[in-house]
């Protein structure tokens, strides 16, 4: 199985403006721990796209994503001393774990904020959903993405934050159960159980709409 850290290293290297990894992350982290702000700025530049990519999987509003980026790097800054380093625990994987935890916290906060009102689906969204069931190709990609985003937001709002997290990592990030367990710190059986519940909840939500 491809190791999780390798997967994120691949994602990182595939990014258009990925800088050459010199100096090495471990050197920059040591310098940052010693109070070198330029070293931390370099780490930020190197990994902000990775964090943005992960935050965008869970949230679609720009301000929310920016907030996640800021919170993730702030947490990482104060936790740098506890970073173990080495190939098995690359900085990308370590930072990803922090980002996923921050996203999970934000999902929980969002759930508390919007717990009292579950939005109704608009006519436009209903029409879009019917077209998707008939497997019709979307007329305008951008317009459909906007409708899909609103619809998915409303559907996922009915799910428990943990279920939502697992389902997003499975369906959008295409991660395996073992990789999600590594990323969240949960056991594989818990991830499987969450995935099962999340799929059932999403089915129920879709069934109500159709």
């Amino acid at each position: 199985m491809e190791h999780f850290a390798d997967k994120y290293d691949l994602v990182l290297s595939a990014l258009p403006s990925a800088p050459a990894l010199h100096p090495a992350d471990d050197e920059l982290i040591t310098a940052s721990c010693g109070g070198d702000q330029a070293a931390f700025a370099q780490l930020f530049e190197r990994y902000r796209r990775l964090v943005t990519r992960q935050a965008c999987r869970f949230f679609h509003r720009r301000e929310q994503v920016e907030e996640i980026i800021q919170e993730s790097f702030t947490d990482a800054y104060f936790a740098l001393g506890s970073y173990q380093g080495g190939r098995e625990r690359s900085f990308a994987a370590w930072l990803s774990r922090i980002t996923v935890r921050i996203c999970y916290d934000e999902l929980k906060r969002e759930r508390r904020r919007t717990a009292h009102f579950v939005n109704q689906v608009s006519e436009e969204e209903e029409a879009y959903l019917s077209a998707r069931i008939r497997d019709e190709s979307p007329a305008s990609r951008i317009e459909n993405a906007v409708v899909a985003r609103d619809l998915v937001g409303k559907l996922l709002a009915r799910l428990n934050p943990a279920d939502r997290l697992v389902l997003t990592l499975l369906n959008v990030e295409d991660l395996s159960v073992a990789e999600i367990a590594d990323l969240t710190g949960w056991s594989a059986s818990k991830v499987k159980m969450r995935a099962h519940r999340a799929r059932a909840a999403l089915r129920r939500a879709l069934n109500k709409l159709l």
């Binding site: 796209r49 990519r53 679609h60 720009r62 998707r132 619809l151 559907l155």
Partner: protein, 120 residues
Amino acid sequence: MWLRKKQRVKDKEFDRLGRALMREAKVSEAEMETIASSPFPYTRLRARIAAEQERRAIVGETWIGMLIVARRAIPAMLVFAVAMIGLFLVTVHRAPQAGSLSHDEVLASILNWDEQGVTR
């Protein structure tokens, strides 16, 4: 059996639909790039880190203050407690020697009164 099979097919269909919707709702690479390259992100991050450092320092100061108070208060309370225990012990041990009567002495004197009454 047939119903269960039908339900399974329906579930698969809903799973496929859910997955397709989630993928379609994904933020595009261009949008991601726009967010990632927003202006002055590091300046804002530094400001946030500084604010967090300040907050942690205040929390730390509060703890240090409490520790200093505790460092003085705990020995003082200990000395006070020892003094009170000592005082209590002294009072208990001295009480019979201070001229007051013990239970046996009280009993003996009552018996004496009774004997005196009989002889009269």
